[in-house]
């Protein structure tokens, strides 16, 4: 990805993030983007890079919209004209939000839309693996329980035989004790 380095002139690189609703018709969208470009053209700004994120859900509804389109623009321009651009962007119709940020020196541009999608995929796979592990754990538990039950039943089966033996033993003991020849 390219790094942004300011030119030695009196210009500064700015990062514009623009948010507009996703349910606009194509004509409206184009007019909006054109309007933004015109504003920049008026201020004699130079567009360096553009990163359109496309449709993305919002964390909270803005002007009753739950989905929006994000566009990130990197623009090099005179810092005295920023205030005017900010004012004009606020007036533009069909604009939900915009943000102007001065990125740090030698800022490396990364396409966050791709990164976000990758992260979503990774999270899905992580969730799936967790589910599979839990299923395995449950299966193991069931098998162990079954084994324990089998053991218990076996023990129960054995138990009466042992009691019988005990009865025999007690009988023998009684016989021994009752034997007069021992002189107890």
């Amino acid at each position: 990805m390219p790094t942004l380095t300011p030119t030695p002139e009196d210009t500064v690189i700015y990062e514009f993030c623009v948010l507009y609703p996703s349910n606009l018709s194509q004509k409206e969208e184009q007019t909006l983007l054109k309007g933004i470009e015109e504003i920049f053209a008026e201020a004699e700004a130079k567009e360096l890079l553009r990163d359109a994120w496309g449709r993305r859900g919002l964390a909270y509804p803005i002007k009753k919209q739950t989905e929006g389109n994000f566009v990130v623009l990197y623009i090099e321009m005179d810092p005295t004209k920023v205030r005017e651009i900010d004012r004009q962007l606020r007036i533009l119709p069909h604009m939900l939000r915009h943000l102007i940020v001065r990125p740090p020196k030698d800022y490396e541009v990364t396409k966050f839309s791709q990164r976000f999608e990758q992260w979503l995929k990774d999270r899905e796979t992580a969730v799936e693996t967790e589910r599979k592990e839990e299923e395995k754990r449950l299966q193991r538990k069931v098998v162990e329980k079954a084994k324990r039950e089998v053991k218990r039943t076996e023990a129960k089966k054995k138990a009466p035989t042992s009691t019988l033996e005990e009865a025999d033993l007690s009988k023998k003991l009684d016989e021994l004790i009752s034997d007069d020849s021992l002189g107890l």
Partner: protein, 80 residues
């Protein structure tokens, strides 16, 4: 017995925690980078205290800045 109970309840020293951003030597936290900011926000959307997350003051300030920007742009929730 009492001594043992006390020992069990002791938590790890928060001073021993290391800043995850310092380990990576991050110089700037981007407000568009949702995956890196997400672990420092709790279920209700509040930014986690430094005491619990172990982030150093320098990076906590950067993180707060980034999260507030992301909230403004609708990428993150103010309150769930």
């Amino acid at each position: 017995m009492k001594y043992r109970k006390q020992q069990q309840q002791q938590r790890s020293d928060p001073k021993l925690k290391k800043c995850p951003f310092c380990l990576k030597e991050t110089k700037y936290i981007d407000y568009k980078d949702y995956p890196t900011m997400k672990p420092f926000v709790d279920y209700f959307g509040n930014i986690m205290k430094r005491y619990y997350s172990g982030v150093c003051l320098k990076h906590q300030k950067m993180l707060r800045n980034a999260i507030e920007r992301a909230r403004f742009m609708g990428m993150m929730a103010y309150r769930k």
